[in-house]
Each structure stands twice: as structure tokens, then as C-alpha cells.
Amino acid sequence: MPTATVTTLRPWRRIALPAIALVSAVALAGCQAAEPDEASGDPVEGGTLVYASGDAEPTCLDPHVGGNYPQALLAGQFLESLVSRDTSGEIIPWLAESWEPSDDGLAWEFTLREGVTFTDGTHFDAEAVAVNVEHLKDPATQSSTGYLAMGKVDRVEAVDDLTARFVLTAPDSALLESLSQPWTAMQSPAGIARGMEENCEAPVGTGPFIVGEWVKQDHVTLVRNDDYSSPPADAGHDGPPYLDAIEWRFVPDAASRYAALQGGQVDVIDNPQPDTIAAAEGDDVLTWIDAPRPGAANRIELNSGQAPFDDERVREAFIRAVEVNDGIDALFFGTAERSYSALSSAEQLAYSDEALFEPDLDAANALLDEAGWTDRDADGIRMKDGVRLTLRFPVSTNQSIPAEQSLFEQVQATAKQAGFDVAIELLDLSSWYSALFAHEYEIVSAPYTKVGPDVLRILYHSDSITPAPSGYFANLAQLDDPAVDALLTEAASTSEEAARADLYRQAQERILGGYYLLPLYDQQNSFLLDARVEGARTMPTVSTPTFYDAWLAG
């Protein structure tokens, strides 16, 4: 197993790409940089692309309902948002051509694109935007992601046919970012009016593809929208997509997915195992797209709400004791880069501080001694007043890939050297949430995907410690710092770029400096493509793939 020879490929967004990037994928063969493939030739019309998804099958295709990543993956093919993002993080036009906030920041006027129709024939107009926002805010829709994103939106008024005014209850610097996400995408009012059951089966949007048939647990067929006319500003071409259709299959087992790609049974897979990405290096016919999700980085959160991590010295000791770099290299075969930030490297405002996370066993031991954890039991675990230094670590088998679980085992082993007893508990998703809601954890790792740095407010504002009625709370570190709260609140309502960036930087410094989390790497979001798939890229919003520009060569 060659581990060292894999060129650590730079995420595409750091590479200066032409404004219109045809290929944002990295061809592994020969490891060329992510230049557009010269030999690919002209786009070919027709063909069906088979996509094998390892994410859970959505229970509802309408991303307004609930709102999770698997829904976003699919919805990106048939729904479109008001705005998008380009690779530099700039908000760019999509269904909205331009936008203007009022001076007090309490109203935003969006000018909509003209002549766009939903695939059921309904016109896209300001009234449709109002209906969509109303749908998101209606409890009966059972939206959670979109509902949160629309938290400060009071209502939408149709000023005229193509002008929609968002009326806010408070200034929201994250509004555009929120609206760029697939969970707030625009659907046909007529489609929504059919009722949840029908709309879940086949939502109607303005996108390049139309939901055809959904065979549960098997596949969703997406067929070409021949009348498509509304690509985002960074798309590669105009008019309808090249592909006839996409067959979107649900293949939960990673090894099977990879085997199917190798055998040519499918053209694109997501969530490949790191070792298979590395193995694909020797394979001329596979292409790797590395597209870290925006929002938070993958990190281990330390529960500061209760002993022993209510003591900052113990938190720091843990972070200094744990050694993960070698493990990340070995387990991810060079496909994941170590992160030292609370935010994804996809976020422009991410702030890193490597020095804070320098492993230092002696320092860790000293800190623990100082904190009073001086006794050791027969297993070498530290004790204080007869209590073992046990850290409960619930791990969701649905959210952590095997390599990550192995990494946690290494965390367990290295932390033990300092006298921590890390008790990893592998749980299914419901049990995992139950453990969190009951505060039965000292450390935990939970992904969170959102466009923009506002994710910090969701994850680290003390308001997020208060559980939702369902028991959910996002601030798993239970970070309760008025200074952080103030910084994040202010940043959220500051639309001036430099000031906003500075506020987020200060907040991140405080969060990282308090040793509330151990960043690991970006949320891994990879795709392997058969080399005959050309022109596929991921959206710079939440890194979902789009096949609007894609075609099948040969």
C-alpha cells in the first residue's frame, strides 16, 4: 500500500481558476494540477449518468422538509436557489439577478431573473419566492435547516412581479449565504400546494433535471429539463444540460460502491474510502473531486459544561496529549489535510492556529497534576477523589466512516498515555443523539454543514446550549462565554466585510484558545468519477456535485 507517494492534492478552491471552470476535478492519473483537460474535446449530448450515493436515502426529496445533506445532494440537480457562491466565496446571481439591502439592514430587495418557469409550467416570480419562504417557516412543513436559516426573516413581500422584498426582524449578515443553500431553494408554488406527501415524492423546481421515478431504496431517475434556462453565473454553458438523464442509486456499502465504479457499472460515487481514493491513483480511468463541505471542520468537541472539562487545564491537557497527525496520514492516505481551525477551509474567514494544538505529553501531565488528577489506578488511569478520569465518547456509526473510527481509537490510545480513559461507544444515530441530549458525553464529534462563518454562532453561542423542544442543541462543547456571544451576535448583524471578518477572527481566537475543541480535518466530501465523465463539478455553496455541465465522453 503506497501511502507516501500520493501527491497531496490541493483543494480546488485554492487554485486560481478561470471564471468559468469547466473541470474542477483533479485527474489522479499523472497527477496533473486541476487544469481543464485539454484532450476532453467538445461536449457530447445524450447518455445517462449513473451516480451511486453512499449517503442515506432521503425520506423526502423536498429539502424544505427536515433538511439534511443527502437531500441537498439530490435537490441540487432539480432545484435552484436565489443566489450562489463562486469559488472565492463571493455571492453570485442565480435566480435573483441582483439584491440590495436597506440601510437599516431590515429589508432586502431581490430582483428576479426574467422568463424562468418551473418544470410544471408555473412562472417563477416574486409571489413564488414569498410562497417558498412561507413554506419554510410553516411548522407543518417540518423544516429544520431551512427554518433556522430563515430565522430572522419575518415575511417576503412581492413588490412587483420580479421584485421580492425580504422583511427581517433583525439585521442578518448571513442572509445571502443562507439563501445560497439548497435547503432554501425555490419550488413551484403549485408543486407545494399538492401537499407534503406528493411534493416529497417529486418536488418541482427550475433546475436542469426533473425528478422522474423514485424507486425506494433503489434509485431516483432524473430526466433532462429541455426548457432549462437559468444556470448560475459560474456555469459552463447555457441552455439545457448535455445528459439525457441521471440514475441516482443508493449504495450504502462503500466497498460495493467502489467496485461498481471500477466495473463501470456506475459513473460517479460519493463518500469513497480513503484507501480507495489512494488506490485509484494507479488507475487511469478514475478522477477524484475533493470538495470539503463548508461550515465547521470535523473536530472533537470537549464538553465544558460538566466535569472534568469544566476545568480549562484538563481540556488543554487532553488536547496536548492527543496525537493525531500520523494517524490522519496513515488512515486517510494523504487525502485529508490536518485542520487547526474551527471552520472548514472552504470558508474564507477560517482562522487557524497550529501552535495551540502542538502535542506535548509532558505539558499534558503537568496540567493534569496541577488540576488535581494526581492519582493513578492499576491501568494507569488518573484519579481524583476516587473518580477515574473517564471520557465518554459516543460515536455515531452513521456519521463516522471506518477511517475516522480508527482515528478515534488512536485518540483513545494516545490520550491514555496521559492517564485519560476514553470510552468509545459506537451508537446508531438515534441512540447517539439520545446520549448527547442526556449530556452523557465528555467528548464528541459532530459535523455541521452551513454556508458561511455564521455556523460559529450556531455551534458556539451560549443560546445554542438551550435545547430545542426535541432535545437538540448545537453547542456540544457547551461553550458559555459572554465575550464569544457578543462577538458572534455582532458579526451576524454586521454587513461591512472587514469589520465582520475581524469580529469572526476574534471569536475564533477565543474559541480555539479556550481549548474547547480539537480540529481534525475538513468534512471529507469526495467524489470519484469515471474518466469518461467530463465537466462535472461541485457547487461552491455546500459542495454538492452538479451535472449540468457534465457529459459522457466516448
Binding site: 500500500m1 484507501d275 500520523d326 488512515l331 488512536q410 461507544e425
Partner: protein, 290 residues
Amino acid sequence: MSELELRQTTVEASAEHLGPRRRRMPRAGTVLAVAFVAFLAVATVAPSLVWTQDPNRIAAADAFESPSLAHWFGTDESGRDVYSRVIAGTASSLLIGVSATLIGLALGLVLGVLASFGGRVLDFGVGRVIEVLFAFPGLLLALLVIVVAGPGPVTATIAVGLSTAPGYARIIRGQLVGIRSSHYVEAARVLGHSPGRILARHLLPNALVPLFVLATLGVGQAIVWAAALSYLGLGAQPPAAEWGAMLAAGRTYLPTAPWLTVFPGLMIVGTTIATTMLGRALTRRGREGR
């Protein structure tokens, strides 16, 4: 008279033993099985005698090394020595296999005894209970138990034990019913022995012998089922080296590092084969008399 008959018996008996089917020589396979089980016993009682290094020692830099003199079975994704982990996993794997089987057997025995002795009503009732347990797919029963009680080796063991219980119960009931209507139980009744005494002296001992053989098969099966639970992420918890968990964890790397699953897999298969062969050898001896 008795001398004459005895002589004749000897002739009959030896003719029988020299016949085509039964031989008294221990088979080569039996010898191998005994040797393997002895090795397992050592690995269970004193694993540190046979392992080559600390099974939980992580060396990320040494990950995915193929089998060599330094690492007989290679190293795993965290650079741990697979051979040492296989050895270290013997105790917990066997514990899971044996205790799950014991739970299944014990429950099966209770149900079986109730069914065959509790009279018609109880027999019908227990029969239905067994049906109901059977009607639950084994893995679902296990899933329910695990989801209710939380994952881990103990619940996995209980879950597997529970799901094997109806099978054992049915066999035990069949055995007991057969033995109950046998002539020797009738002979004991004719002598005026009480049902309790008959149960203790005749029924249970005679029903348990074939069960023992069944159990030898069951141990391997229980390990395999526990492994399936590990695959679904519900079995042994890290860093415990348990064969099933190792098999499940290593499966991901099967194309690139097959040794991660081949060796724990061989241990499971080997244990099943060895215990089964031992069980069969013991039954053969039982059948041939001592």
C-alpha cells in the same frame, strides 16, 4: 453358560467394531482439533505467553504492513500487530461465543423442560412462545435488544443468545419428548420413581449429551453472528480486539490489505471446525461405549 455368552458377545462386539463404519483409532483430524483447542486455551488464559507485542500498541507509521517475520499476520490500519490482536481477541471472542451459546441453551432448556413436562396447556403455550421467537428474524431480535439496551459485547452476547434460544428450545423439547416416551423412562416409572427423579436422573442427562454437540457448532455460529452485529456497528467496542469486530473493521480494506480479515476469519472458522470435530469425536465415543 455365562462364559459362553460372553465369548460370543466379544465376537459380536469386535465384529461390529471392525465393521465398515466405526473405528476406534483417534482420527488425525481429532488430534489436530485437540491441538488447536489447546492453543486457544493458552491464548485465552495467558495471552501474553503467545502474543509477540502489546495488541493495543498503536504505531500509525507502521500501518498496513503485510505479513512478515516481524508481524506474522501483518499490521492493521493503526499499525497494531494483527497476530497479537488475534491472540488477545481469543478470550473475548470465545467468551462471546460460549456465553451466547450458554444463554441460548439455558433458555432453551427452561422452555424445553416446561414444554415437555408442564402438561398439555403449558406445552401448547411454550410451543407458541418458541414459534413467536422463531418468527422474529434472529438479527432483528438482536437489533431490538441492542437498541434497547445499548451496544457492546454484553448486549451483543445476550442478543445472540436470545436469538439462538428458540432453536435450542425446539431441539431440547424434541429430545425430551423422545426420551420421555422411551422404554427406559417407562421402566423407571414402573419402578415407582417420581417425575422429579426421572427428570434429574434420566431425561436431563440424556438430553444434554446431544446438546453438547450442538453447542460446539453454536459457539462458532455465535461468534459469526456477533461479527455481523459488529459489521452493523453494534458489537464489541474499541479498542477491544475481538475477532468479529476485527473482521468487520478490516473488511473495508479487503482489496488492499486482505490480511486484516483473513486471519481473524481463519480463527473463527478454525474454532468452529475444531470444536465441532471435538463434539463429534465425543459423541462417537459416547455411542461406542467406554
